[in-house]
Structures are given as structure tokens and as C-alpha cells.
Amino acid sequence: MYSRKRLVGLLMILTALVVLVACAGGTAPSAPSATTAPQATSAPQATTAPGATSAPSGGAVTVVHWQHDYAPRKKIVEELINDFKAQNPNITIEFQSIPYNDFFQKLGPSLEAGTGPDVFQIPGPLVREFYERGQLAPVPDSVYTSADIEKDFVPWTVQLLKQDGKYVGLPTDVQSFMIFYNDDLFKEAGLDPTKDLETYDDFTAAAVKLTKRDGDQITQAGIDISHNTYQLFWPMISTLSDKGIVDENTLKVTYDNDQGYAAWQWLTDLVTKHKVDSPEFLAKQQPFELGKAAMDAHEFVEAGNLKEVAPNIHFSVHLPPHAPGRPKGTGGTHWAYVVSSKSKNPAAAWQWVKFLTSDAADRKWTAGRSELPSRTALYDDPQLKADPIVAQALEIAKVTHPFDDFGWDDVYNIQQAIWDNIVLKNQDVKTAVHEAAVAEEKLYQDKKLKPAAQ
């Protein structure tokens, strides 16, 4: 018995040792920020604080770059890496293109563990959240002064990137929401595809005219609105108030009022009253690409996508209608290239980000119809404007307001519920909008965001 006990004891000790060894790499609850360098091969700037003024020189440095996977963007980044390497032989860019569904699952824990990337991209509306968690390094003056950023970049593409007077990222993947017309279907219905449908009433009348039915069954939607509805309601709520969607001083939404209710009434009436689309018509498919919808609200990237998936569709791009009493405009989103506050090579990382957002790079991003330029200089560029779709899109981008909520999928979920509650559950517009407003404001409390006024 004694031997058996000793044997069991020995095994327990061994097990305990294994547990201890396994835990040795972990972090104590109170100090999870103990970190290891993010795969730097050698770190001449290892001691350089974020915001360093000197560019890297001397030994080799590795900058780890993560972004979510999207084939056209991945290809451009790979090209830019080669161009950058030619100019900066001492900086190696280690690039990972991570599927979107895995991106945030990987990013959050790796930043916490200190094994995350030096450079990564996040949606503009999430910049504040990442900044308040202390995860972002500011742009050093050696790369860009705030004045230069404001001079070189289109204002709406950097508005969300300025935190406490300092910029903490540079814009990428700039997208304005626009209405895509199927020009052939417009002509067939006797409508002019070169004109914007400026008012809500004009838009509704055209959508009704463009809708085709066989009995009760829609066979052609006036506008594909049930699929990716946010692409119409995000520009709508982005342009309702001069303060944007959320007043940054109070963290209160600006759409929970009569103007907001009227806008949502117009939007949902398209389906509930005018029946220019139905949630059950080609559900979870892409009717515009199939030639089964005459209009589609989408980001600019759709222009590049259509070239690939529906080359026979002749289309043009237009501004969405504007609310009564409001100026012409649309909403837009962008992402930001940011540098981790835990990066051991912030100067090299920012140098790479500067390259990614340079004039030459911006031209590449735009030329493939993947995204719009963030740099002011390209807005009247004759070479880019030679593509008529890009030329139309650039005019739309000039009157774009940023989608300036402080969330991404989370606020989308809340705002989508407005549409679903009204269209699928016949809820009263005012109640649906108010419930979402309360939920959105609670979300910001849960995120512990600080109002800018404080």
C-alpha cells in the first residue's frame, strides 16, 4: 500500500509540475500586459517610445501587419510590400491576411497577450474604443504632423481618427454609400439613368415604376433593399444631423426624433406600403447582380465587384436621396491603419503605414475600383477620372459624411432591429426607433466610452 501511495504521490507531483510549467507562460490577473516582442528579428528601435521622431535606421526590423482578408486588397498590399522593401531594405513586412470572421477573434486576445501585430486595420468607428483601451500609438510627428494630416487627407476620412487632439491612425478602405442604377432597366421603364433621384418622393416614385410583378409575386425589385439594408439606412442616418449619428459630447444618438422617425417611415414604407421589394424576394441572394433589381444601395467597392461577377450589367452610381430640409450628401465608412501601443518598432511601423496611405498607394487602391481615395490630391486627378464610374464616385465622395457611430457589428445589429421590427413584426416606427436609440446609448455605457466633453 505504501508503495502505491508513493506512486500516486509521485504522479501527483508530476502532474502539478506540468500544470506549473504550463502556467509559467501565462499572465497574472493583475498584470496581463506583460509582453513579449512581436516577432522582431532585431530591434534597434525597441526602446523608442510610440511617437518617436526618428525613422528606423541600422539593423533589420520586422513589422508584423494584419488585416482581414479580401482578395483585391490582399493583392495590392503584397505589391506595396515589394515596393516598400525596395525603398526600405532594412524593414521586413510580415503580412497576414486573416478571414474576416476570425479577424477580431485573433486580434483581441493577441493584443492582450502582447503577441499581436505592429500594424493592423480596424473600422474607423472602433478607433475610439481601441484608443480608450490604450491599444493605439499616436502618429509621430516625424511621420505626419496633425496639420499635415488635415491638409493631405479628405476631412471626413480622418475625423474619427483624432483622439484627444492627436491622430492615432491613417485612413484606408474609404467607401461612400451610393445608389447603383441598372441603366438598361431604367431606360426600359422610361426613366433617365443619368439623373440623381434627389428627394424621398422622387426615389419612391422611381422605385415603384421599376418594380415588376407576376400576380402577388415580385419578379423585379425596384431596389434591392431587404438584402444588406444597412447600405441604405447608414447613409440615411449619417446625413440627418450636422452632429452626425452620435453627439460625441453626450454619446446620445441624433435619430431619435421626428426627423429620424420620418426618415425610417419613408425607408420602411418602400417595402411595407409601396412593396418595391420584399424580404422574401431572392432572400439572402444578390438580386441586383442577377439583373433582378433595378437599384441597389452599396459601398463603392460594388463597382469593382460588378465588373467581376456581372460584367453584362450596365450601371451608373448616384447619390442617395436626402431628407427634407437637409443638404445633398451620403454616408461613408473607412477603416484605419493603426499601430499597436505595444509595438516594439513604432517608427518602422508608422513608416510602413505612411507608405500604405501615400499618394502612389492611394492611386492603386482606387484604380481597381476597390475603394475611394483618402487623399485630397487625387480627387481631381484626370487619370482616375478617365474611368466614368470612378469620376461619378469621386463627386459622391466629396459630399460624404462619416458613419460616426462608436461601434461596428454591434451597432449594426441594434439598428437592423429597427428595420426588422417594423417590416417583419409590424412594430410602430416611433417605438422601434426609440428602442434602438436606448439600446445604442446603453451600448456606449457598457463600453465605458467617455463623452468628448468630459
Partner: protein, 302 residues
């Protein structure tokens, strides 16, 4: 000093040595993460913020008192589990009984029923999105042929979860059929023959002989089914999500607990809250599994 061991102790030692790799992996990759998650569940543990605050049971209180969507996700998960597992088991048992009649093409039918099980769930999910498309999908087309107006399926808050259940029943049928078939083939033929001699009809033989003797297999299938059902994620994610479509909709009508956990952890970056939700799921699985084993498993002897 030489360790003197009896032959049985020596055998035990060797057994532990061979078991050690599995035990070590189990401890490192399962036990420790589970204990860490339990620890997180008592903390306000936002990713990326150095300060982690001990808040006791606050995460659990918030889950049940402040988060109606979590309660919806529990209800959805239970509905999904019951609504997909019960029909699957009944149908799988029926198919297994038919195939167990000594069909010549048994292997062929077994393969046909089993193919969905080995198909990629993601690919299957996309195909079913097409099948369930309300206007042009095959399912509603067939319903129209018999003058029934099909529902909106995945775009309807009432029908989205039944749509996912339908796909799950189709997919899992083959798996449980193979388990039942294996169970049926272990029942001694003599029992049925003796009953036939005594004049028992097929119905009586099924209720009095086959079903009681198949009980351990049914318990096994039910326990596995409940555990899988409570952890449902991928099928819902694929069928209700997509470019621009957030999974779990419309209006959270298909949102399962696991999706709630994943979003709390990686969208809200709140590991403490997500860990608490994960432990609620753990307790649910444990509870249902124990209940099933207690209620359904009845000892019997040949």
C-alpha cells in the same frame, strides 16, 4: 535506492506512463483553460485593458437580470435541440429498422444516408439557403405544387429556426441511423424468433423486445445529440449570416448560446462576461446529460 514494485504495481505504472501524454494534453489544453475561464467569469475582464476587477457573481447576475438576448438565446438553443433531435432520433430509428430487415443493398443505403454527415457543414448550409429561398427555392416550389404557400424560412423570425432544424435533421439522420443499426445488430436474433414462436406480432416485438434492448444505444444517441444540440453554432452561423447579414437573425430568432458567448468575447471583448455565459452552458449540458442518463437508462438483463 531501488524501487521495489509488485507485478501489479509495475503494470499500473506502465499504464500511467502510456496514459501520461493523453492526461498531460487533457490537463494543459482542457482542465487549465476551463479553470482559467471559471476565474475570468468572476472578473470584469475586458481584453486590452490592464485592470481586471474582481466582481464576484455580477457577470452571472447581468446574464439573467440585464440581458434579455441571453435568455432568448437559451430558449432558442433548447428549442433547437428538442426540435431537431427528437425527429432525428425517431426517423433514424425508423430507417435503421427498415435497413435491418436484411436488405440486399444495405451498404448502398447506409452510404446514401451517411453522405450528409461527412459533407462540409458550411457547403451544406449554403445549399440549404438556396433550397429554403422563399420565392424560387425548391422547398417552397414543392409546397406550391400541393397548394401550400411556403413560409419565409430564413428571413422570417418564426420560421428561421425551423429552417435550420430541417437542415440539421437531414444532416444528422445518417449518423444516428448508423448508431441504431449497430445497436440493432447486437440484439440476439433468438429473442425475436422466440417471440414469434409465442405469437407476438411485429408491433409487440418492437415494443417488448427491440426497444428495451436498444435502450443503451438510445441513451447514448440522446446524450450525444443533446450535447451537440446545446453547442449548435456553425449551421446557424452559415445559414443566417453572410456578407452583410449578422448571424442569429432575424431579430435574434436563431441566436444560440454559443454565438452569444463568441460575440461577448470577441465583439465586446469582454472575456469575463463571455466566460460566465460559457459556464452557464456547461452547467446546462451537465444537467441535461445527467437527467437523461437517470431517467432514460433502465437496467435490464438478458
Amino acid at each position: 535506492m531501488q524501487l521495489s514494485l509488485s507485478p501489479s504495481q509495475r503494470r499500473a505504472l506502465w499504464a500511467y506512463v502510456f496514459l501520461a501524454p493523453a492526461i498531460i494534453f487533457f490537463i494543459v489544453l482542457f482542465v487549465i483553460p476551463v479553470l482559467r475561464a471559471l476565474q475570468y467569469s468572476f472578473y470584469d475582464w475586458p481584453l486590452g485593458v490592464p485592470q481586471k476587477t474582481f466582481i464576484g457573481l455580477e457577470n452571472y447576475r447581468r446574464l439573467f437580470m440585464d440581458d434579455p438576448v441571453f435568455l432568448i438565446s437559451i430558449w432558442n438553443t433548447i428549442r433547437f435541440t428538442v426540435g431537431s433531435l427528437v425527429p432525428t432520433l425517431v426517423l433514424a430509428l425508423g430507417v435503421a429498422l427498415i435497413l435491418n430487415q436484411g436488405l440486399k443493398a444495405l451498404g448502398l443505403f447506409r452510404t446514401i444516408y451517411f453522405i450528409p454527415v461527412v459533407s462540409s457543414l458550411v457547403a451544406v448550409g449554403f445549399v440549404w439557403r438556396w433550397l429554403l429561398e422563399p420565392s424560387f427555392g425548391i422547398v417552397n416550389y414543392l409546397l406550391r405544387l400541393i397548394h401550400i404557400k411556403g413560409p419565409g424560412w430564413l428571413v422570417s423570425p418564426e420560421w428561421a429556426l425551423p429552417g435550420v432544424m430541417l437542415m440539421t435533421i437531414w444532416r444528422d439522420l445518417g449518423f444516428y441511423m448508423v448508431i441504431f443499426l449497430a445497436g440493432l445488430q447486437t440484439i440476439p436474433r433468438e429473442f425475436n424468433e422466440a417471440a414469434m414462436v409465442d405469437g407476438a406480432n411485429a408491433w409487440q416485438r418492437f415494443w417488448k423486445i427491440t426497444l428495451p434492448l436498444l435502450n443503451p444505444t438510445i441513451v447514448f444517441a440522446a446524450v450525444i445529440g443533446v450535447i451537440n444540440g446545446l453547442q449548435v453554432f456553425t449551421s446557424i452561423y452559415v445559414m443566417t449570416g453572410g456578407p452583410g447579414d449578422l448571424p442569429g437573425g432575424p431579430l435574434n430568432s436563431t441566436r444560440p448560446i454559443v454565438l452569444h458567448i463568441v460575440e461577448a468575447a470577441f465583439r465586446s471583448q469582454n472575456m469575463g462576461y463571455a466566460s460566465a455565459a460559457a459556464f452557464v452552458l456547461f452547467v446546462m449540458i451537465l444537467f441535461f446529460a445527467l437527467i437523461q442518463i437517470r431517467i432514460i437508462e433502465r437496467p435490464f438483463e438478458y
